[in-house]
Symmetry: D2
Subunit: 320 residues, 4 copies
Amino acid sequence: MLIVMNVGATQREIDGVVRVIESLGFRAHPMPGATRTAFENLPGVAEAVRVTKPYKLTSRDLRPEPTIVDVGGAKIGGGSLAIIAGPCAIESREQAFSVAEAVQRSGAQFFRGGAFKPRTSPYAFAGLGEEALKILADVRDKFGLRVVTEALDESTVDLVEKYADMIQIGSRNMQNFTLLRRAGRSRLPVFLKRGMAATLEEWLLAAEYVMAEGNYQIVLCERGVRTFAQHSRNTLDLAAVPAVRRISHLPVIVDAAHGTGRSYMVTPLARAGVAVAADGIMVEVHARPDEALSDAAQALTLDEYEQMVKQVRAIHEVIA
Amino acid sequence: MLIVMNVGATQREIDGVVRVIESLGFRAHPMPGATRTAFENLPGVAEAVRVTKPYKLTSRDLRPEPTIVDVGGAKIGGGSLAIIAGPCAIESREQAFSVAEAVQRSGAQFFRGGAFKPRTSPYAFAGLGEEALKILADVRDKFGLRVVTEALDESTVDLVEKYADMIQIGSRNMQNFTLLRRAGRSRLPVFLKRGMAATLEEWLLAAEYVMAEGNYQIVLCERGVRTFAQHSRNTLDLAAVPAVRRISHLPVIVDAAHGTGRSYMVTPLARAGVAVAADGIMVEVHARPDEALSDAAQALTLDEYEQMVKQVRAIHEVIA
Amino acid sequence: MLIVMNVGATQREIDGVVRVIESLGFRAHPMPGATRTAFENLPGVAEAVRVTKPYKLTSRDLRPEPTIVDVGGAKIGGGSLAIIAGPCAIESREQAFSVAEAVQRSGAQFFRGGAFKPRTSPYAFAGLGEEALKILADVRDKFGLRVVTEALDESTVDLVEKYADMIQIGSRNMQNFTLLRRAGRSRLPVFLKRGMAATLEEWLLAAEYVMAEGNYQIVLCERGVRTFAQHSRNTLDLAAVPAVRRISHLPVIVDAAHGTGRSYMVTPLARAGVAVAADGIMVEVHARPDEALSDAAQALTLDEYEQMVKQVRAIHEVIA
Amino acid sequence: MLIVMNVGATQREIDGVVRVIESLGFRAHPMPGATRTAFENLPGVAEAVRVTKPYKLTSRDLRPEPTIVDVGGAKIGGGSLAIIAGPCAIESREQAFSVAEAVQRSGAQFFRGGAFKPRTSPYAFAGLGEEALKILADVRDKFGLRVVTEALDESTVDLVEKYADMIQIGSRNMQNFTLLRRAGRSRLPVFLKRGMAATLEEWLLAAEYVMAEGNYQIVLCERGVRTFAQHSRNTLDLAAVPAVRRISHLPVIVDAAHGTGRSYMVTPLARAGVAVAADGIMVEVHARPDEALSDAAQALTLDEYEQMVKQVRAIHEVIA
């Protein structure tokens, strides 16, 4: 039995653990930390267990207090509730404005909308590109909302930097290290979605790539993982929120749209995301979801969105 | 493209769908329902898609209004919030009473506690058996709580029927059809946990086994599924709650203890379970978790439990 | 970094590991083994890693040489190739005999066929029961094949003991501990399928339940696990074969029928099972698969079966 | 019940299916194909099932005969057995040559070795870059082996094109669409690994991205998916090989190194890969695995490699 103490464990805590060990009739053997290499192939070795964590800058060991991320003057983290809403993809100025108006009215501060869409099929609608970014910039000017939008590679980071307030890195790119490093050299904060099969450690190490380049303004986003379950598009792993909280100082947002993929589940899971103490939620909203060019099945109508915001605010007050 | 309508879809709804299809330039071909067999091996067949659902008694198609389950006079379902709390295993009268007192004080109506524990290892503590059932019966008499406890096979169902108010069927036994049929012939309501790799359909069909024997008093319990994630013992699949609600009339409870396996996650996930509109939650409580004989890592202390109850009640009011 | 040595590691092996550690500039701290309890809730503890394995009787530490299981005089394990073939369910004497004749002709020694079928739906064909067992006994007498068939509970074990040569415990019952204990008190060998979400440890502990009652004649069967993959019914985890081999002395069989659920995949995966050095394979065969009452989609025709047997025998010779 | 026929199903096949349907007492309703949009939100709709496949160029419907990929004059596909071997990362000329000599001696035609390594941690060894590519070019000249190496982004594709014979796209980049499009404009063939949570459809659509740009020379590589199983690094999904074969004309290789992550499993799973009828295997080889700078735990020694090659060649003959 190996007991790994926290990096900052006090002598008193260590003594407490030793006492329990000895009360069970065992002897305790203190052991200084060490780092990893490949031992498993040596003769006689049954298993090699890594006991130090590979992430550093993302860790509470390095920075105990929570990071508050500044997105064009609005904050994510530190006890406030961030609501990030908007259409999946920007389809037209009219479509974007109709949603932005509702988002502004709800008191939310962040607007999302895809300009560059990573689509599973090369034949699917891939976004309006720079034209969409211009619409997003207009949304910011007209409605006072901060704009979050996805970049797919180095050249789209250049464009996103020109028009938006926050760079989103999508699930499929969570381990696109070239992109992570480029985002690490940006002046904009980064919204980093969890990969669909990523462990917590891999996710934090992706953030570590960004931070290692000097950009410490990162928001993590849980958006569901891939499992055998077929009733939702992904399985939203809400336990990731307290788990991240325990080891990292970075804020965490729950994406209830991609995390479910079914519009009738979005409001309940958005409520659950706030109840689990995420720093905010991301949802998709569309004035006429049936006509959306992408991800229609997971968008809220304007009315549903308004109702949802009321409920999540009330839940946020309960747990504050 | 195949569009499957709900069983109760109106002609007006059908016409609406046809209109959308035709507005896209396609022709709509109405097709009466049919049932399944094995076609996939016939020459030329690419795929056979089942379009009827195999569950019947558990379905909203059969019974549109929600089932309210009566557990010794207390109700689960129908808008109330059921809190089921107690130790993982009954270890002694003192241990059970210390927890029961806190559960009663919190206003909860249901007490859980294992008498027969299904343990992964044959060498682990497997519960006190009938002695534990007697303690549970005393808890009911002294504290006015309804008692939920697990049965493992036909003979333990006999014993549980003698002492308790509700028969729990655990995850590992979700497809123990002999046990399900025996529970279907009981006068007690059944608390049916989802198997750790069960689809919604398999879970509902397990309930269907119970109902097919005549027992319609069933509460479903989401308790997490097995995934690659290592930060929690299981991955709590909260989307299962709205998904079940949509197709079945049976109440659903969220087990935040087994669903996480880490005590620091229990309260956030219990809150999330209520926020997602489950009919209640199940948690484990222990006066001194460090000394518990089983599942110590997921029990709340008495204080943590008291705090948690306040929060979930407040969230329940928000969404009511 | 913790290096766990095998139980039987020699001093020379330990010294070798220490040398590598020190060549990397670290100090090695030998540490006697200890057993587990719940430390993770103590203050300051980051993680508690169990370093002893919970299984004993199934382990190579206890019994280094491979177990050879005797099934009515025919052997499984020890270098031979066991072929277990037959229909999913026994439907009639004619159906069973037509398949048994082909199985006998192929030189295989084991016949499978379900009498009691655990079906996901209570409305599906559940087997002919004792009538099927009588047909199986006739297959044994007439064709000289050993009969493997599934028991679902204590009372069906009684019946299987009366008619068959080996008790199969299915995936859904891998943690039905009452059934495992009953099989542990049987004079018949046990064919133990892996649960669809079972870790290796859980699977070996299920075998440990049987052995703890005194029955050491167990054959493990890998039959696929549940994953997100949709192209096969289950994902056959062939790495489980060398993994089991490394830690346990029990023979392992690969079920290429349930492991794939698609007849066109059965032969390739049966070959792969033999190539990975399993002690044998299980397949389903039907004279007219299109008319089978259960699992039609995964049965081989008689011709396909004959071809498959030739190929797996040739592969077995390559790796012998 | 919906029966989807293959695109090329004959009238005779269709009539055969209709006959079976009618023999079961149902009526058959022929239905012309249609394409997909979002219907699930319309009132009354229970489910919308897509019945056309989104991949085109990768499909057997488009090209029934198998694609044979030309890698610098050596072929992959069409019945031959491709063996791709080499170290995980190129560490030095000496290391590369010592392995290349053994690879050449074994009769294999393809050499692998990482110059740019996508590492989970930003602090891990990330490859020697262009220096490694120069060593790989020397391996080609000196040993006559074709060189396969990974590119991470557009600029490393430029470099790989300069020195190597085939561009590898790794699991983490399977949906890096910018990279896929760049590879689609290359004159080199592409080695496309399956993402660790990718469905078959997503994998084929990734290949479709490459083909849509004009590059039809693609080899798919199954390298294991992420599951709950802990005994191997990934779960090698060998059923993917027949599944791909059935719907696509592209060759498929099995990576037994990453697919297992444990050196003692590599040879058995490489044999299984050939037995399942893959077009070849990829393995990692190192003269002194204990000293490898990356993925030491999954490399074969030179001797193990030589033995493995003999076995897989013999198995290949069995199934040819």
